[in-house]
Subunit: 418 residues, 2 copies
């Protein structure tokens, strides 16, 4: 392989971005539908290439969980194609003008949604990201640079070949989707300098990758470090709702970033609530408990919680528990330990719930609902390209519209300024 020239590649993608930005919704949908079919039709080839990644992964001694995330089967390839077809059904945000206001001098002023331009995804393992991120970018009128990890390189290139074949057949510049074949760290450094060509970088992977990209990028980065989600049970909580929301939030899919990691309980409801909670957590999934001194006696086999536990994103059947003296102490704990992901209050008291919503500025704030709903699909955004826990540009789950921006459109009839 000749050496990959990142700057040159980024310029080609920038040029191609003008083409995808001008495609109509029908053209984009037709393109995506054809891509979905092409991926299904190529499943034998994709599985053969994927087998090389799996073999290399075994040779490197990857864990079974890692290998499973890498693996592509017939069914998983159908799932990828279906995910693209799902994106076809989403509304196209590009070109919309929400409101065209009339200025005193008769000019109309509005803001039109437009694509960002070029989006770079830097991600690890799961090869489905290659196809789904490409589809979300195309649907929102963006060109995309995909830099997957070395462990999935054969699978990623096989998927990219399908997409490029479709683009070629339809006579569209294939640089609107660019898969970087170089999996070195140096190429990431090069990528992060191309601020004249790339508008946004979205890293998906472990905290190390995201920190590295944030600290080295000259291009804006969507950050999602971790999800330390809090559930606060108020003294005015409905106990049944509280137990259900706790069990669902902690045990339904503990490996997800929107799972509950810390349970806070108002001291005046401890007597009624904690015995029910302890039983429910033990019954449903034998959740490991890290309890504060006061709550420790309510659990069997709990360990004493440390400050580290309140910072922990367990991503497992494990939870930190703390009794707080007051509503305000609950807010203070959340403000101190929050990862700006998702926080939930369970309370029937409307003043408390209102105050909670105003005082907590995490990206998703919930009243009487499971944190597991903190997800683009569940919140009604359609497919999700990531979750931002930093406030700039997008905050919280990101759908298609987070891949766009707005320009001002002014419609005059000869107006000049006095």
């Amino acid at each position: 392989m000749t050496q990959f020239n990142m700057a040159e590649n980024a310029k080609l993608v920038r040029k191609a971005s003008r083409i995808v930005a001008q495609l109509t919704t029908s053209q984009k949908n037709h393109l995506l539908t054809t891509m979905a079919q092409a991926i299904e039709d190529a499943s034998d080839v994709i599985i053969t290439e994927n087998a090389k990644d799996i073999q290399a992964g075994k040779d490197k001694g990857l864990s079974d969980a890692m290998l499973d995330r890498l693996l592509l089967t017939k069914q998983r390839i159908v799932d990828i194609a279906d995910a693209i077809r799902e994106i076809v059904t989403l509304a196209d945000p590009v070109g919309n003008i929400a409101n065209l206001a009339l200025r005193p001098n008769g000019m109309q002023v509005g803001k039109m949604r437009i694509p960002l331009g070029v989006i770079a995804m830097i991600y690890e393992s799961r090869p489905n990201v290659t196809a789904e991120a490409a589809a979300l970018c195309i649907k929102s009128g963006n060109a995309v640079i995909l830099r997957g990890g070395s462990e999935a390189i054969y699978s990623n290139v096989a998927l990219a070949n399908c997409l490029h074949q479709v683009l070629e057949n339809q006579g569209i510049d294939k640089n609107i989707v660019s898969v970087i074949p170089d999996t070195s760290r140096e190429i990431i450094n090069e990528l992060l300098k191309q601020r004249d060509s790339i508008d946004l970088v979205i890293p998906r992977g472990g905290e190390g990758l995201i920190r590295y990209v944030t600290e080295n990028s000259q291009i804006p980065v969507i950050q999602h470090f971790k999800g330390v989600c809090h559930l606060y049970i108020d003294k005015y909580a409905d106990l049944t709702k509280a137990v259900n929301i706790l069990v669902n939030g902690k045990t339904q899919r503990p490996s997800a970033c929107n799972s509950i990691e810390t349970l806070l309980i108002h001291q005046e409801i401890v007597e009624e609530f904690l015995p029910l909670a302890a039983k429910a957590l033990a019954d449903s999934a034998q959740v490991k408990i890290h309890a504060c001194e006061k709550s420790l006696p309510y659990f069997k086999d709990a360990t004493l919680a440390t400050t580290d536990d309140y910072h922990a994103e367990y991503l497992a059947q494990e939870i930190a528990v703390k009794i707080v003296d007051s509503f305000n102490d609950g807010l203070d704990h959340i403000n101190e330990y929050s990862s700006d992901h998702t926080e939930v209050i369970v309370s029937q008291d409307t003043s408390r719930t209102q105050q909670f919503v105003r005082a907590i500025n995490s990206s998703v704030v919930m009243i009487n609902a499971s944190s597991r709903f903190s997800d683009g699909g569940q919140l009604g955004l359609g497919s999700e390209i990531g979750i931002s826990t930093s406030k700039l540009h997008a905050y919280g789950p990101m759908g298609l519209s987070s891949l766009t921006t707005e320009k001002f459109v002014v419609i005059g009839d000869g107006q000049v300024r006095d």
Copy 2:
């Protein structure tokens, strides 16, 4: 002066940001009104301090234009106070939920506007920025770190003292407005590393300052490098509108970034339009012309335009002129040389104007109106804190709402996920 600890200061401002975020609109308006009055009342002190900056500027040999930008007079101090009072009248974006949608399971999902948190302004000369930026940040619920240039340090500190006095009298943490007394470059480097405390950096000044901040910041930066605004006169242009929009765009205030720097003319309208344009530009302000070969004969004393002229932000009574063969050649020229600020088409043809709006993705795209309207106040945003020519977070003139973000608010009644 003891050494200024930037990290420590930023942490104090971050802490204070929670207080300003929770103030009601009435509280913020009362605070700002009192600040405006305090500045007016302190005008003697401010003028005395400003005189030190002016003297230092003279000693350093600053130009008369620079000294004029630094100078504060009684009237200019009243203007600063009035600018703050104007901000009081603006609608408060914080707390608004644009739309609360119902999900199939009965949960309500909306997005609430919230302050960004801590905003850092890095700016040069004009001391009025100190007061106006502070007021815009307070009104939008943000804390602010102000780092003005050494040439205005006495004026900036005098203004900050007024603001701090008001905060102290009202019992509000004075760290919601922090003026950095250290004017070294090192302190900027320190500031740009405080990403745990600062949410957004807005540099205002020359291209050198903005590039420096962009290349060295770990915090998101609002970029505004320059305004190379284009005016395209289509073959279907109304000639009277075209001449008015040209003269207004170029000569009304040539030092503004929304002035026209390049005039493009469709070849089929050259004969009718250029003689009128040449006369109007000569009559109104003796504009210096850099013309392409074909347009050169239409002007007296024009020089031949080079590629540099098409990149130039003259900020003076000076313009580049080019005849284009077709509408598409006009689009291509703009896409190549655009600074993503403002572009204008003059045409009576609705297909052409529509196509122009779709094909040009600068932050402000105008039909039949003067580029001089590309300004927060003129577009209806109220006071402007800056103009972004990069697409992330904000694009184009930025008002109060660009100093906020949106969090998701979910209102349930015990829902859990299946």
